[in-house]
């Protein structure tokens, strides 16, 4: 088994990080519900919050709201703020009504928000009480997706971390894949791992409550998403062991990730090559086609999802881009350390945000492509700076070999469009 990628001389692991406080232009963790409820098919996510929370969810969910969604908001009213005692009773009433209407629900998440956290509504206790009341049919769990505690994808982390303590115990030697991936990507990952001869694989989150997911001290886990710090800690508390690896973006990232897992399971080199050679070649070819437009171009990342560091690694190493600044809402070194090693010296690594100061840096640098949220994208385009909106990277299948070309394509498309449009006269 060859060693995985060696750290680049002068990688970014020990580069001082730029930290600023100020206005953050990011989503809160409630947004995670939008993709989690599609993934966990028998779960309902009940946010306890304000009209703002409901408004955020519908703004983010777009048209999904109309397909009998499995999420909603229990909107706090004045009476709930007046006295805490009856907030529990109110919640119980709403949950009873919900569960009687929706017999298909097996897991109910009570999701905390800023308002519910500020008034110290004890949702953990509510979840315990409701769990006892609705057992064995429905399990009620609690996590916080509030903006004061979580940023965007950290909502998924909080949700998965809340599930871990309740999972049954097993001494099986198994591999646990952690992170909600699009079904098509998850299936590809499972196929690759099975072809390598790894038999016993489970996925967190499982698609159903009765999936038989269990864990213990013989479980090793690999993360497919970089934003799972809390889940990582919760799994280690249950005795599971983490397999550190770069994240499976692009050909190189996917190969390094698979190699880390293969080494853990003692897969021999010949078998590894037999399984990966063809998809590696496919991925390389697809990336090369999409990356033609990206080579030599500079990129600037505003913080959004914690995917920024692995993606910057992919774009600089496999697509020939130069990173100017890589901003992440939070940097978890035990998790993205290997990606930082592989990211060549040069870019500013920033954590957190003062959006006005960061915009000043972005304008001064005039990057060829800026990765940012939808609140900044059109304003920057109007200033002449091409953008790629970041949220798409969370919703679109981008991991592993077969999506490597699509991933590069997401970044090359805005540049392609810029080149294709002849609108000078219209301006």
């Amino acid at each position: 088994m060859t060693l995985p990628l060696a750290p680049l001389a002068g990688g970014c692991r020990d580069v001082p990080v730029l930290k600023q406080r100020g206005q953050h232009e990011v989503f809160c963790g409630l947004t995670g519900i939008i993709w989690l409820h599609r993934k966990i098919q028998d779960a309902f996510f009940l946010v306890v919050g304000s009209r703002t929370c409901a408004h955020l969810l519908q703004s983010a969910a777009g048209v999904m709201i109309f397909a009998q969604p499995r999420f909603g908001t229990a909107i706090l009213e004045e009476t709930d703020l007046a006295g805490l005692a009856d907030a529990q009773a109110e919640l119980e009433r709403e949950v009873d009504r919900l569960l009687s209407r929706r017999g298909d629900i097996r897991q109910l998440f009570l999701v905390g928000s800023c308002p519910s956290e500020v008034i110290k509504l004890d949702l953990a206790r509510a979840a315990e009480r409701l769990s006892a009341k609705h057992a064995p049919k429905v399990r009620v769990l609690n996590y916080s997706g509030s903006g004061i505690e979580t940023t965007f994808t950290e909502g998924e982390d909080a949700c998965l971390a809340a599930m871990v303590p309740a999972l049954p115990q097993t001494d099986r030697r198994q591999l646990l894949l952690v992170g909600a991936l699009p079904d098509v990507v998850e299936d590809q990952a499972l196929d690759l791992l099975m072809n390598l001869g790894i038999e016993d694989i489970a996925v967190l989150p499982a698609r159903h409550a009765d999936s038989g997911l269990a864990l213990g001290s013989n479980t090793v886990f690999a993360l497919t998403q970089p934003f799972l710090g809390g889940t990582h800690a919760a799994l280690e508390r249950r005795g599971a062991r983490h397999i550190p690896a770069p994240f499976p973006f692009g050909e190189e990232g996917t190969t390094a990730w698979l190699q880390a897992v293969a080494r853990e399971f003692g897969v021999d080199q010949a078998r590894f090559d037999a399984v990966t050679t063809a998809p590696r070649a496919r991925a390389k070819k697809a990336v090369a086609q999409a990356a033609a437009r990206l080579t030599g171009k500079s990129i600037f990342f505003f913080p959004d999802s914690q995917l920024e560091i692995p993606l910057a690694r992919f774009l600089t190493r496999e697509c020939g881009m130069t990173a100017i600044e890589v901003g992440a809402p939070y940097i978890h070194r035990a998790i993205v350390g290997l990606d930082l090693d592989l990211l060549g010296h040069g870019p500013t690594i920033s954590e957190g945000q003062d959006v006005d100061l960061q915009l000043d840096r972005c304008r001064a640098a005039q990057p060829d492509l800026t990765v940012c949220g939808l609140g900044l994208a059109n304003p920057l385009e109007a200033e002449g700076l091409p953008t790629k909106w970041a949220i798409e990277l969370v919703f679109t299948p981008v991991h592993f070999y077969e999506q490597a070309g699509d991933l590069a394509g997401l970044f090359s498309r805005p540049l392609h469009r810029r080149a294709a449009l002849r609108l000078e006269a219209a301006e």
């Binding site: 206005q23 989503f27 409901a54 800023c114 939808l374 059109n378």
Partner: protein, 518 residues
Amino acid sequence: MKLSVWTYEGPPHVGALRVATAMKGLHYVLHAPQGDTYADLLFTMIERRNHRPPVTYTTFQARDLGADTAMLFKTACQNAYDRFQPQAMIVGASCTAELIQDDPGGMAETMGLPCPVIALDLPSYQRKENFGADETLFQLVRALAKPMTRSAHVTCNLIGPTALGFRHRDDITELTGLLSDMGIGVNVCAPYGATPHDLTQLGAAHFNVLMYPETGEAACRWMERELAQPYTKVVPIGVGATRDFADEIAAIIGRPVALDESRLRLPWYSSSVDSTYLTGKRVFIFGDGTHVATAARIARDEMGFEVAGIGCYNREQARMIRALAKDYGVEALISDDYLDVEERIEQLAPEMILGTQMERHIGKRLGIPCAVISAPVHVQDFPARYSPQMGIEGANVIFDTWVHPLVMGLEEHLLTMFRDDFEFHDAAGPSHHGGYAMSVPADIPQPIHAQVGELDTAPVDAATAQVIWLADAERELKKIPFFVRGKARRNTETFAAQKGLNEIGLETLYEAKAHYAR
């Protein structure tokens, strides 16, 4: 607590954002946690604005609570002033900041910033978006406007258009032209496009045009009292309303005014024989009070529809809509719960819905043609083309908009009638998104009747679910136009249940038809 999946209105601070974003030279400092910046993308994406909304969010986090949120707010205020140099600022709290009681107004006052700072008190747990917009404009006008000499020529102010307003951009253009034809200039249009300095000049106008009561009424009332400016009560949407609006202005300024109708086409289009099939079409109308009231009049008097039901989601207009419903002999629905609206639509089984983005989806689900008349709307209702609702061109736009889905509906129906034709088949999708796909994806839960390939997705109530449709009746039912099929199905089942029948054959279908004949 109230379980909500979808809301017609955002929280009140979003209303304040709509006013701030509509204006220039004004900055809003909002005491809010991380994440509340989601509202920015309503403006940058749905309205496609090319600049960030002029708002600074303090972005407090859990670790700041109980410690220095007040300091954080002051720093944010100072930084916002230093960076943007606004002519005036508004400060306020979002729903979470309301709970930590930092008093943004009081804090900003002690800072001695060199521009007017207006505090907003927006109760997040009682009121909603429209109130927030109305209250914000009112506070701005109250702080900045003052009595002054009237302009030499007759001018008026346009009051109420905001950012994220349904067709506000083009309504302003249309009204400005219409007033100009009458020899009346626009002094200030606010908040849309106005600066705080412009607001100090409001007093020069002879009267106010209240374009949208939802977002401008409080300011107009105040100006009527404090600046002695009368304001218009008629909202000029539709032909009759536009003519009444002209008469109202003539009365206000004490001289006759001419309305130029040379480009008005709705009356002739509506009179032409092609429109005969519109007669008596049953429409259900839902949205904000102003657009519902104007749409009801157009529907009945200018299109020849039958108004089957009306309602609004903003309780500020509930009284007006209830009174109007009496006029039309229908029951008003005042609710902000879309499930109530869906239920009412199912119960009335109208042939067309005029509503919001949500009713568009309800229409899609039930297979009822729908046109959008009111916010909340999606990105397609902030069009690139000129498409006002108000005035002369507004009437033309409305005729086209409302008839379009119906024509499409007929086309759809013809295609369905000839479904067994060799060139049409079930797998061919609909001709228009206003209908519904003939081949429903497998992952959508199907109602009971889908087993027999029925397109009707109307829910079956438990009392009649026991009735079995025989094949011949089922076939006959499919020949009934889809937009009344749901009603026919339910009527027939109710009729059969009353007669104690548990099977429906051809005979029963036609007996029921005769029984319910209007």
